[in-house]
C-alpha cells in the first residue's frame, strides 16, 4: 500500500510526532543519532542542563507501568529545561471511566506542548496524535506489541558507538519476538540503516508468522543463529503479555535460548550484547554475560537519555 501522507511528518517532511520507526526515512534516523551525539557531551558536564525547551510543558502519559523509560524521558526533558508532569493514568482517570481522548483533551487544555505516551494497546499514540492540535507533539514510549521507537533508536546509537558502521554488520535478535515491540522497532531501524544481515532467533511459538517478510533470516537454533554475528540483541521474555502456553517453562527456555558465555562464544570475539531491560537473569540471559565485558547494557541506558533529548528537541524545533 502506498501511503500518501505519513502522520509522523509535517508538510515539509520534518518529524512532527515520533510514533514508530517504520516509514521513517534513514535520513531522519541519522539526524536523530547525530543530534544525540551532540547531547552526550552535555550530559558529561558539571551542569547537565541546556535551556532549549525552557517554558515547555511535557506530559509523561503512562497508561502502563514503566520505570526506566519513564525516568529517562523525565531526565531528558529536565536536562532540556522543560517542565515535566508525570501521570500514571492506570490509577487515575481511567479507573473512573474517562476515555483516553478525554484525558488528553483535558491535558491539552492545560497548555501541554508534548505528550510522551506509553499504552498497552497498539496504536494508542497514533490515535492521540490524530486528535491533538497542530502545535502539540506526540512521542510513542511503547504501545502494545507494536512499536517502541526511542528504544530502537538508542539501540542503533549504541551499535554505531561500538561498531561505527552499519553496512558490514550481522545482527541477531534473540528471544520473544512475538510479543516484543522492541524487536519490531529494532528490525525496522536496522534494515532502514542498511544492516545487510538481520537474524531473529527464537522458538516457533515466540516468532510472528511471516516474520521473514520483514527482511530477516529466521533461526530456531542458537548455535546456527549466533555464528559470526557482530551484535546480539537480547529481548525480555514478556510473561505479562502471554496468555496461554507459549513455553514449557522458563528453565527450558533458558536451556535453549538463554544467552550463556558458551553460546556467546559462537559470535565474533568482539561481539557486543544488548538488552532493553528489565532483565530476567537466568531466563533469557546469564549473569556472567549480563555483567561481562561484552555487555553494553548499562551504556544503553545512558545513551537512552541523549536519544530522548535529541527526539524532544528535534520535535520542538520543527
Amino acid at each position: 500500500m502506498f501511503l500518501t501522507s505519513n502522520p509522523q511528518l509535517n508538510k515539509n517532511g520534518e518529524l512532527h510526532h515520533l510514533l514508530s520507526i517504520e516509514g521513517l526515512p534513514g535520513e531522519i534516523l541519522l539526524q536523530i543519532l547525530d543530534t544525540a551525539e551532540s547531547f552526550v557531551g552535555v550530559t558529561q558536564r558539571e551542569v547537565k542542563k541546556v535551556p532549549l525547551l525552557r517554558g515547555k510543558a511535557i506530559f509523561n502519559l503512562f497508561f502502563e507501568p514503566s520505570t526506566r523509560t519513564r525516568t529517562t524521558f523525565e531526565i531528558a526533558a529536565k536536562r532540556l529545561s522543560a517542565d515535566v508532569i508525570n501521570l500514571a493514568i492506570n490509577v487515575s482517570s481511567q479507573s473512573k471511566g474517562e476515555s483516553v481522548l478525554d484525558t488528553v483533551a483535558n491535558l491539552a487544555a492545560m497548555q501541554a506542548d508534548m505528550f510522551i505516551v506509553r499504552h498497552s494497546q497498539s496504536g494508542a499514540p497514533h490515535l492521540i496524535a490524530r486528535h491533538v492540535g497542530e502545535d502539540i507533539h506526540v512521542v510513542n514510549a511503547g504501545d502494545g506489541r507494536h512499536s517502541h521507537p526511542t528504544q530502537g533508536l538508542l539501540d542503533m546509537f549504541t551499535i554505531r558507538h561500538y561498531k561505527h558502521d552499519f553496512h558490514q554488520l550481522k545482527v541477531a535478535i534473540v528471544g520473544d519476538i512475538l510479543h516484543s515491540r522492541v524487536a519490531r522497532s529494532q528490525i525496522h531501524a536496522l534494515t532502514t540503516l542498511g544492516v545487510p544481515e538481520v537474524r531473529v532467533i527464537g522458538p516457533k511459538t515466540l516468532l510472528p508468522t511471516n516474520v521473514d517478510n520483514m527482511g530477516v533470516h529466521v533461526y530456531h537454533d542458537m548455535a546456527k543463529g549466533l555464528k559470526d554475528v557482530d551484535v546480539v540483541m537480547m529481548l525480555r521474555l514478556q510473561n505479562e503479555r502471554m496468555q496461554g502456553s507459549f513455553l514449557p517453562s522458563p528453565q527450558e527456555f533458558f536451556k535453549f535460548y538463554g544467552l550463556t558465555a558458551e553460546k556467546l562464544a559462537l559470535a565474533k570475539p568482539d561481539a557486543i550484547v544488548l538488552h532493553p531491560g528489565p532483565m530476567n537473569r537466568g531466563v533469557e540471559i546469564d549473569s556472567t554475560v549480563a555483567d561481562g565485558n561484552q555487555s553494553v547494557i548499562l551504556p544503553q541506558v545512558t545513551f537512552g537519555i541523549a536519544i530522548r533529548m535529541a527526539v524532544m528537541s528535534i520535535l520542538a524545533g520543527n
Partner: protein, 165 residues
C-alpha cells in the same frame, strides 16, 4: 549600499594581537566560539603566550532562535579545559553583529562557573547590535549591511568572505 573590498583577515589578526598585547594577563582564559572564533582563539593564544589552554564553545543549545530555526545537525561539544570559577575570561568571535551569539555564550559560560570577568574580542564589528553588548578588542569595524564570515584554508590562513545571512 556600497560594498567595498573586504579587509585582509591576516592583517586584522595582527592588529587585534597588538591591541590585546599588554592587556591580557597570562592566566586569562580565552574561549573561541565555534567555528571562526575558535580558529581565531587558537592564533591569539599562541601569539599572546598564555599559560592556560584555550577553550571552545558551541552555543547552539543556548541560542534564542531555536524556535524559528530548530537545531543544527551536529553541535560540536563545548570544551573548556580550565576552571571558569573566579577567572578572567575573553570570549573570541570572528564577526560581532546582533550580539545574540555573545548573549548565548555568556549564558553557557555561567553553567561552568562564575568568572571574575568576561571581555570580548572580535575580528570585525559589522554593527547592527540588538543587545547592549560591546567588544573591548576589535580588529576592524566594517560597513553595516555587509554579512561576512571567516574562512580558513588548508595552510591555516584566515580570510574574510561575503556570506548570505
Amino acid at each position: 549600499m556600497t560594498t567595498g573590498p573586504l579587509p585582509d583577515a591576516e592583517q586584522l589578526v595582527a592588529a587585534l594581537i597588538e591591541k590585546m598585547r599588554g592587556n591580557v594577563a597570562p592566566d586569562t582564559g580565552l574561549i573561541g566560539i565555534v567555528t571562526g572564533g575558535a580558529w581565531l582563539a587558537e592564533r591569539l593564544h599562541t601569539a599572546l603566550k598564555l599559560e592556560v589552554p584555550f577553550g571552545t564553545l558551541d552555543v547552539s543549545f543556548y541560542r534564542d532562535d531555536f524556535q524559528h530555526k530548530g537545531l543544527k545537525r551536529k553541535v560540536a561539544p563545548s570544551d573548556i579545559p580550565f576552571e571558569v570559577e573566579g577567572r578572567d575570561l575573553i570570549l573570541v568571535d570572528d564577526v560581532l553583529y546582533t550580539g545574540r551569539t555573545i548573549r548565548a555564550a555568556m549564558n553557557e559560560l555561567f553553567d561552568y562557573g562564575r568568572p571574575a570577568s568576561i571581555r570580548l574580542a572580535s575580528l570585525v564589528d559589522r554593527g547592527g547590535r540588538e543587545l547592549p553588548i560591546a567588544a573591548q578588542f576589535v580588529g576592524a569595524t566594517i560597513e553595516a549591511g555587509q554579512s561576512v564570515e571567516l574562512k580558513r584554508d588548508a595552510q591555516g590562513r584566515l580570510s574574510l568572505a561575503l556570506s548570505i545571512d
